[in-house]
């Protein structure tokens, strides 16, 4: 019970941890793009936070940069390219699909397949044994 309450509080607290300035957009569509971008871009200083959650000076600056690029009419792709050119693919929480990241994208499915094959193998084997036993 205690642990469960703790977990609740931690969840609530992390919801309050957003470090955002007040930003205003002319259209809700732009506001949505802004929110998606700062959620998907990683803060280069604090390695396990996105731009949205981080209070680091550089994260504030980069949020500002995203804001002004959206206001200047730049596309999401242009903004992402801008960040990658300066901070590397490190800033992308969603890694680019290329040979060196294949294991990230497809590794889990490969493991799932291996697990499924083992499961089927064991099940079939057990059934055969059970039949023999009868």
């Amino acid at each position: 019970m205690k642990a469960w309450l703790m977990a609740c509080f931690v969840c609530l607290a992390s919801g309050l941890l957003h470090a955002e300035e007040v930003v205003q957009f002319a259209s809700p569509e732009r506001a949505e793009r802004y929110n998606t971008l700062i959620e998907e871009l990683r803060c280069p200083k604090c390695q396990n936070q996105n731009l949205e959650d981080s209070n680091a000076g550089i994260a504030v600056d980069l949020r500002q940069q995203v804001y002004s690029m959206i206001q200047a009419g730049q596309s999401d792709e242009q903004i992402i390219d801008y960040m990658v050119a300066r901070y590397g693919e490190f800033v992308l929480y969603r890694p680019v699909q290329k040979p060196s990241t294949a294991i990230l994208w497809y590794g889990p499915f490969a493991l799932l397949l291996v697990g499924a094959l083992i499961f089927i193998g064991v099940t079939v084997n057990n059934r055969r044994k059970a039949r023999k036993g009868v």
Binding site: Q47, G57, D61, R86, Y87
Partner: protein
Amino acid sequence: MKKLFFFIPLVIFLALGAVFYQQLGKDAEYMPSALIGQSVPEFQLIDLATDSVVGNEALPNEPYLMNFWATWCPSCAAEHAYLGELAEQGVTIVGIDYKDDTPAAREWLAERGNPYSLVLTDEMGHFGVDMGITGAPETFVISGEGEVLYRHQGVVNAEVWQTLKGYMQ
């Protein structure tokens, strides 16, 4: 033959153990700059000494260090004396006064000595972002042709200098 299968978990364990062991002691924060091999981005910044706007042509034509610092940065105070020593040894250092107050920066250099051959003020931090820095201090090794060769995040000391020196040739 079948019993060999029971050793699979052990083998996996040993393999993972070997991989993790190799990673021990490595600096998890280390991040190579995205600009390695590229030219210093174009800029128009104010020269702290002359108050005039200068561009890339003001940068040295020999290998040099580009050091991002600020008066609000405690680690910059810590490395300042060592940068002075390097300057005395004849190392060219360009200082970028990052997101700082210009009068405070002038006072700081007057008080502690100026190891920089050139100080540019990046008040808004835009040049810092173009260089992909995440804070101060950060130090880049730049070739005479203006190519970014190496980036170090954090304080420069004698040990770090050994690495930087290797890139200065």
